[in-house]
């Protein structure tokens, strides 16, 4: 079969009292790709996942898996015939079955006797756990068994629903790396649904940002972070410093001075709008001449770097995240310098 692993076009879905949970979604997952759908809770991520898996009807639009239509006008393929591997939150292993029976659940009787189950457990680094019960595994191990179970039947697409959110912060990144490794090794195509921007940016080949039932932006993690489509996306995917400004000839006049702006069309007239910077683009350094215009309010030491909160003359506060520990104290005057270019968002009515 040809075509992308998943292709969603113009998808609408919802509930009787809330019809537009998904208000026209387009999403494409290339073969072997891992796409993260990032959105705040209540934004329709889970509904999207349930429509793709076949547990929720599509009101309009089409869903194709590997080029095969599974949902569309007058068409609804039941979940058991979609060849989807589902990895729900907290694993959802069958508590009455052993690890081996869990992994072999979607296989035929003959396949279950073969070496497939052992291969899958090896893939997720749990060889030898066959006879354990789910209750005897740690949260991370359960999650990996759930991935092995989803991969065993060689599904067209693996759906991961916030799979790491139930794990401890320390364990999360470790399990995340193991799962991504297993997905790569199996050559699986996958959709990861999450509200955690770190997870989406650090894990996926492509990130699709879902907001109020619409896809606001789709792109590589770098694009989403560096070139967000709007201030909402910018604030959602990372810490943002937003300053009011006016633009002329590719440079914005802001409370911290002139800031070079990327890919702005250099119109002659002043254009008012907002400037977006990331805290790591800003540096605060001691500057006695800046008295009255920029004052240190707070210094937070993180180990690898330091956050300096600076209050500007008009009460606006900006956060600078810098590798060095500047020799300043709260109340000292500082100068704020900008590294790299800012993003420009013209004022909207």
């Amino acid at each position: 079969m040809t075509g992308p692993a998943l292709s969603v076009r113009g998808l609408r879905a919802g509930f009787p009292d809330h019809p537009d949970v998904l208000a026209g979604i387009d999403l494409e997952v290339p073969r072997g790709g891992l796409v993260a759908v990032l959105g705040a809770s209540g934004g329709g991520k889970t509904t999207l996942l349930r429509v793709v898996a076949g547990f929720h009807p599509a009101a309009a639009g089409t869903v194709e898996l590997g080029g095969r239509p599974v949902a569309g006008p007058g068409l609804h393929v039941p979940p058991e015939r979609r060849r989807i591997g589902l990895v729900p939150q907290e694993g959802a292993l069958f508590p009455h079955l052993t690890v081996a029976d869990n992994v072999g659940f979607g296989l035929s009787r003959r396949e279950r006797r073969g070496s497939r189950v052992a291969e899958m457990l090896e893939l997720v680094g749990l060889a030898g756990f066959e006879e354990r019960r789910p209750g005897e595994l740690s949260g991370g191990q359960q999650q990996r068994v759930a991935v092995a179970r989803a991969l065993a039947a060689a599904p067209e697409l693996v759906l991961l629903d916030e799979p790491f959110s139930a794990l401890d912060a320390g364990l999360r990144s470790e399990v995340r790396d193991q799962v991504r490794e297993a997905l790569r090794a199996a050559g699986a195509s996958a959709v990861l649904v999450t509200h955690d921007q770190q997870e989406a940016l650090g894990c996926a080949d492509l990130v699709a940002v879902l907001r109020d039932g619409r896809m606001v932006q789709t792109g590589t993690p770098q694009q989403i972070y560096r070139e967000p489509a709007d201030l909402g996306v910018a604030r959602f995917v990372g810490e943002a410093v937003v300053l009011p400004g006016s633009l002329r000839n590719g440079c914005a006049r802001t409370p911290i001075g002139m800031v070079p702006v990327a890919s702005a069309n250099g119109s002659g007239a002043d254009e008012s709008g907002s400037v977006l910077l990331r805290p790591e683009q800003l540096r605060a350094s001691a500057d006695p001449h800046a008295a009255g215009s920029a004052t240190v309010r707070e210094i937070v030491f993180h180990g690898a770097d330091t956050t300096v909160v600076v209050e500007l003359g008009d009460g606006l506060r900006v956060r600078c995240r810098q590798p060095d520990v500047p020799d300043v104290r709260p109340g000292d005057p500082v100068a704020v310098t900008v590294h790299g270019q800012a993003r420009w968002f013209p004022e909207t009515r």
Partner: protein
């Protein structure tokens, strides 16, 4: 179905006749007796059951586990066995107080078990917060703790009230004429069965009223709002009250379990002409009808329970409500209705095993549906979705995932049904196949001619048979949540 027929049968005699029966002084007298007895027993059971549950779960009473088991045991003593032993030991007890004592002694575990479970699952934090806000221990008990157990106590109280209304054995032995006994005597005593049918309808109406009242009174049940694992509270120190508490619990156990057991042992020992063959036959019959009846009930309950837990549509809600009407159906009314129905529609079925089993299914479906629904609801639907995404259809998923997960709960429902069927008397009395007498029927026949010594072995066998599922149930419901 049987109900409709009963109503038709009653109405068929003409409105004047129905009115005449309804307005007769006898009907009113029976109603007052039934209601009075139900109210008194329910109140006593709520007090004893809640108090005992609190003592066992929340205080430093010695050997709480042993008490927990002992206090559940009265469930294994059918009301008519308890009644029989009391009347055999002290014939002077017959009447209201005898019936009241017997029914309270055997029914209080229906309040105790759910209240104990609720107390176990209660979070200490809310009680501690109340204490820190200046509430004394007794005030906390009366406000916070009681609010937590009130739904459980009310539900248990409802069960008790329904059991008392539909009880036949104890009141007949205590010769305290209530509705059920009135129905039976008018059914047996005359060829005109209209009075029996009319009284049966009134009894159903009464039971339905109690169920409706409970649903109204329950209102919104309180749910735990905080997340995280609930922490068990530290036990209350009884101090110098400890001997009093122990004595009270021992007294309850002695009256509800000790008296019947000792009495049965004594009468069995004095019995001279023990017919072992008949005893074995009756035991076997009881076992057989209980197993078959429980199997049929459970098989019927699984689809209803699964639908009720998973698909909340109007039809399903109606279906479920329909089975709960059965909750309010006294055994004697179902028996009566099935007799009328059987004689009229399928004469060949009357006094045959299938009709008896249908009667049991009608009576005890609510019990089984309740436990199936709870068990299925506790199985996460996400697991079913995973199974479907792995290529198994709805039916395959039901058999491979849902039912195995719900198996313990379904088994508990089946055990409960088997226990109740083994103890059931009035419907069995009316519908049993000729010659196939269960332990309960044999016992009742002997006691009605005051052959206490001959009856005792049957009672003893019945209690022993009933102890097994009771202990099983106590283990399942008593497990800390």
């Amino acid at each position: 179905m049987p109900l409709v027929y009963l109503a038709v049968r009653a109405g068929g005699a003409g409105p004047e006749r129905v009115l005449q029966i309804l307005s007769g002084p006898r009907t009113l007298e029976l109603a007052m007796r039934s209601i009075g007895l139900a109210a008194a027993v329910t109140a006593a059971c709520v007090v004893i059951g809640t108090g005992a549950a609190w003592l066992v779960v929340r205080t430093d009473i010695p050997r709480p586990r042993v008490f927990a088991v002992l206090l559940a045991l009265p469930l294994a003593v059918p009301s008519y066995v308890a009644g029989f032993t009391w009347i055999a030991e002290a014939p002077g007890l017959a009447g209201f107080w005898g019936a009241f004592g017997v029914l309270t002694a055997v029914n209080f575990p229906y309040v105790l078990l759910p209240v104990a479970a609720a107390l176990r699952s209660a979070d200490a934090a809310t009680e501690e917060v109340a204490r820190s806000l200046g509430y004394g221990p007794l005030r906390v008990l009366a406000t916070v703790t009681w609010a937590h157990v009130r739904p459980a106590a009310t539900a248990g109280g409802l069960l008790v009230a329904l059991y008392v209304l539909s009880d036949f054995g104890a009141v007949s032995l205590m010769r305290f004429e209530t509705f059920t006994l009135g129905i039976y005597t008018s059914y047996r005593g005359t060829f005109d069965r209209t009075p029996a049918a009319v009284l049966g309808c009134v009894l159903v109406a009464l039971a339905a009223l109690v169920t409706w009242g409970e649903a109204r009174a329950r209102g919104r049940s309180a749910h735990r709002t905080s997340s995280g694992a609930p922490r068990p509270p530290s036990p209350v120190r009884l101090g110098r009250w400890k001997p009093v508490a122990v004595a009270a619990l021992l007294g309850v156990v002695a009256i509800s379990v000790g008296v019947p057991v000792l009495s049965l042992v004594r009468w069995t020992a004095t019995g001279t002409d023990l017919d072992l063959g008949a005893l074995a036959a009756a035991t076997l019959t009881t076992f057989e009808v209980a197993a078959l009846g429980a199997a049929l009930t459970t098989v019927l309950a699984v689809p209803v329970g699964v639908l009720a837990a998973r698909y909340r549509t109007r039809t399903v809600a109606l279906l479920e409500a329909g089975t709960y009407v059965g909750h309010a159906l006294p055994g004697i009314t179902v028996g009566l209705a099935l007799v009328f129905l059987g004689v009229r529609l399928v004469p060949g079925m009357y006094q045959q095993l299938p009709l008896l089993l249908v009667g049991y299914a009608v009576l005890f479906l609510p019990l089984a549906v309740g436990s199936v629904r709870t068990a299925v609801a506790a199985a996460p639907p996400r697991l079913e979705e995973v199974s479907r995404s792995l290529g198994h259809g709805r039916v395959a998923t039901l058999f491979r995932v849902t039912l195995p997960l719900a198996a313990p709960g379904i088994a508990a429902g089946a055990a409960l049904a088997a226990l109740t069927i083994a103890k059931e008397l009035p419907a069995t009395l009316m519908l049993r196949p000729t010659g196939a007498d269960t332990l309960a029927v044999e016992l009742w026949q002997h006691t009605s001619v005051s052959e206490y010594a001959a009856a005792a072995p049957y009672a003893a066998a019945l209690v022993i048979l009933a102890v097994v599922p009771t202990l099983l149930l106590q283990r399942i419901t008593g497990r800390p949540a």
